[in-house]
């Protein structure tokens, strides 16, 4: 630590160079933070990674097929099941057909939904009570509410797409959770709209199991129960269900990973090049330091800490810029683009910040390693004789 001043001064002895190198680290870190957060936003785990003991039952053939409501009672009777809510993905058009106005609209059974099923969501008890009591009401995720500026008592119209009815819903309040991109309304309200499947079918069953250890048993019990019926089911954990959408995004996820890796490699090369250049220019100086009694280990430490310090500075600045400028900027800037529905859950989380910190240290170490070893191995006589 007593040499910190020396390292600090060395980092800033060529200002242009440091600014440029740090600049490239900043840009890359911003990019990586933004990309990682985009991935996280698309994964939208409603429990916010805490795990939820929840299962989703869908038709074995896929989401496009309905399940008969008669299955609900049989699922509820399975030991270990706490609550079951039939849900329908309404997929209606809000305001106009523009993709940016698209959001998740799901019907549910309000009696149990927030109390027993989606119980890791935070909702004001007064709002929850009002939601239950008002048949044409809906609640929505806080991020979604922020986007559309819904006020309590406001009416919205949803024009159905595959369900050919128009819903007139009134907003009662917001909930908070790991996934705030959805709005929920009453199953009963949808049924009263007299659509073709009213009181007869549902899209999925969303259910909660008391104990995580019971999940595999409940899953196989449900699927076996309906295996030979008219509507065979496929039961997934909530996480698998969300992941199935991500899987369809297919290689996009892997692609972003690869891109991030390649870019990191490129920036490591840039930093390594800079550190090598500055070490090469200082051969004489390093030899003088060795003559004064600094050990090779000292020199190694100096050069390596310079690299790490530089990339840490860049990383820090990059993360701050990403968190306070780019991510909010992108959400705002793309509010009217087809990307908007994906950005509802787009924010910089703690785990990303930690990863960014580790990445910048890693880049510094990798980049500084070779030049540092080289400098520490310079023979004093050669170094002093060399003309730069």
């Amino acid at each position: 630590m007593k040499f910190f001043n020396l390292v600090w001064r060395n980092v800033f002895r060529k200002k242009t160079r440091t600014v440029l190198t740090t600049g490239s680290i900043v840009l890359v870190l911003v990019l990586i933070v933004v990309l990682t957060c985009l991935l996280q936003a698309m994964e939208q785990d409603p429990s916010g990674n805490r795990g939820s003991n929840r299962l989703v039952v869908q038709h074995a053939t896929g989401l496009a097929n309905f399940l008969p409501l008669s299955q609900r009672q049989r699922i509820e009777q399975i030991p270990g099941v706490v609550a079951v809510s039939p849900q329908i993905w309404f997929g209606g058009v809000y305001r106009d057909d523009k993709p940016e106005n698209f959001f998740g609209q799901l019907s549910c059974d309000p009696e149990i939904f927030f109390t027993k099923l989606f119980d890791d969501a935070t909702i004001d008890p007064a709002i929850e009570k009002e939601f239950r009591a008002t048949q044409n009401s809906f609640v929505a995720g806080q991020s979604l509410v922020n986007k559309f500026h819904w006020k309590k008592g406001e009416h919205i119209m949803l024009r159905g797409t595959y369900i050919p009815v128009t819903l007139d819903l009134v907003f009662v309040g917001a909930y908070r959770s790991g996934d705030e991109s959805n709005a929920f309304f009453h199953n009963e309200y949808l049924n009263q709209a007299k659509w073709f499947g009213a009181n007869r079918v549902t899209g999925i069953y969303y259910l909660k199991v008391a104990d995580a250890a019971d999940l595999p048993r409940v899953t196989s019990t449900i699927d076996k129960m309906f295996e030979n019926s008219d509507a065979p089911t496929k039961t997934l954990t909530e996480k698998q269900f969300q992941a199935s959408f991500m899987e369809m995004m297919g290689n996009i996820k892997g692609l972003i990973r690869w891109i991030s890796l390649i870019i990191l490699f490129a920036v490591t090369l840039i930093v390594a090049n800079t550190v090598a250049m500055s070490a090469r220019e200082r051969v004489t100086e390093i030899s003088v330091m060795r003559t004064l009694g600094f050990r090779p280990g000292h020199i190694l430490g100096f050069i390596l800490s310079e690299a790490v310090l530089m990339s840490l500075l860049g990383g820090l600045l990059g993360v701050v810029l990403a968190k306070y400028l780019f991510v909010p900027g992108m959400v705002k800037g793309m509010a009217t683009t087809p990307m908007a529905p994906f950005l509802i859950n787009f924010k910089v989380t703690g785990s990303v910040l930690l990863a960014a910190f580790l990445i910048s240290v890693g880049v510094g170490v990798l980049a500084g390693f070779v030049p540092a070893i080289r400098s520490s191995r310079i023979r004093i006589v050669d170094g002093l004789r060399q003309v730069v």
Binding site: R17, L31, G160, M249, A266, M277, M339
Partner: protein
């Protein structure tokens, strides 16, 4: 007089490690940029190629995707009688009622994905000359036979001829592979419409395809459908329908812009660093060049040229790398989710000539940006101080 280009080339060759690293950085950046753009091009091409302006989809008002729509048998019969529809050799109107549904089937990588199953009849094939059987034969009605696109067969498991598709209550046997000329149909499984109605227990259609005699007739047909109160349907040309789905490519486009802009600036910072180091290492040389009569402008041009050489070398390497990548390694189709249909759309990476030119131009831009400021500094050096420099 201009400083010979040989001077710059030799300088670059002289410091192999530094040049090599900078070229590698530019190369990687260009490859990544081309990769993302090629992906975007691939999606858009799939959704635009062969989309006809004469084939009109007729769907329920407000439907964003065929699968969301319902068209009754009666409505289909009414559509058949509408004017402006082309007829085939047998004198039948080219009207194809089709049913769509999704099935979730395993991919070769072990994960699974949603795929659209399209129930069609013989007229459906007549209307789409781009769809041809390349292997096996066409399915026969009433036998639960299916044909799959050859692209789908390379991405999903158990798609060989003779294989069976089993998902939920669905049972199909594959009898042929088809080629859809790169269109969105290459992401689908095709079966007989009546078979699909029977297996999915839905005695309806999703959409009715109509082939109009010309684009004007298509526009008139769309008007007629809109005006017909009994139908409650709307028409859209195939071209417009798929254009609306291009929103699928939007995230990739945003990705391309983000990645392109950020990495380009980052990499040109790297190049700038290298060039600055060169200017300060060669201060005496620059002084000498100036002393023997080369103008400031020549020095400026020379250093910019050197940066350009550095970056274009990277650009060419990056484009070559991308070319090799797309033609030798990533030849299989890849897929992403179509947000309108909730199914996977398959596409191939496409490195078009404009993209190649774009990659090179991209590296040139990095060269100009990265080279200008160091070159400016070099050209502003005072001869006397520069020559005195050790």
């Amino acid at each position: 007089m201009a400083i010979p280009i040989k001077y710059n080339a030799r300088n670059l060759v002289n410091r192999k490690v530094s040049t090599g690293m900078t070229v590698l950085v530019i190369c990687l950046v260009v490859t990544v940029f081309l990769f993302v753009l090629a992906l975007w091009q691939g999606v858009n091409r799939t959704l635009s190629v062969n989309a006809s302006t004469r084939n009109v989809l007729t769907m329920r008002v407000g439907s964003q995707a065929e699968m969301q729509s319902v068209v009754t048998r009666d409505a289909y019969e009414m559509i058949r009688a509408l004017p402006g529809i082309e007829r085939n050799a047998k004198g039948e109107p080219l009207v194809s009622p089709e049913l769509l549904t999704l099935i979730n089937i395993p991919r070769q990588d072990g994960k699974s994905s949603n795929v659209q199953i399209r129930g069609v009849g013989p007229v459906g094939f007549e209307m789409r000359p781009g769809v041809r059987i390349v292997d096996g034969r066409i399915m026969n009605p009433g036998t639960n036979e299916a044909i799959v696109s050859k692209n789908l067969a390379t991405r999903f498991a158990g798609m060989g001829i003779g294989d069976r598709i089993k998902s939920g209550a669905f049972r199909w046997i594959i009898v042929g592979h088809f080629d859809g000329s790169g269109s969105a149909y290459e992401s689908e499984i095709w079966v007989d419409a009546k078979d699909l109605q029977a297996q999915s227990k839905r005695p309806i259609f999703s959409s009715v395809f109509v082939r109009a005699s010309d684009p004007d007739a298509a526009a008139r047909y769309i008007e007629t459908v809109k005006g017909d109160q009994r139908l409650k349907l709307e028409g859209k040309t195939e071209k417009k329908y798929y254009e609306e789905q291009m929103v699928t490519g939007a995230p990739i486009k945003v990705l391309a812009i983000l990645v392109g802009v950020f990495t380009a600036i980052g990499a040109s910072f790297g190049a700038m660093n290298t060039m600055y180091a060169q200017v300060s290492a060669r201060t005496r040389e620059i002084g000498t060049l100036r002393a023997i009569g080369f103008s400031r402008r020549s020095v400026l041009a020379s250093f910019i040229l050197e940066a350009l050489l550095l970056c274009v070398a990277g650009g060419i390497a990056g484009t070559t790398l991308a070319f090799i990548l797309f033609n030798l390694i990533l030849t299989k189709p890849t897929g992403t989710m179509n947000f309108r249909t909730f199914s996977e759309v398959l596409f191939n990476f496409r490195l078009t000539p404009p993209l190649i030119a774009g990659g090179i131009a991209f590296s040139l831009a990095m060269g100009v940006f990265g080279g200008f400021f160091p070159a400016w500094r070099a050209s502003r050096l005072k001869i006397t101080t520069a020559l005195r420099e050790v």
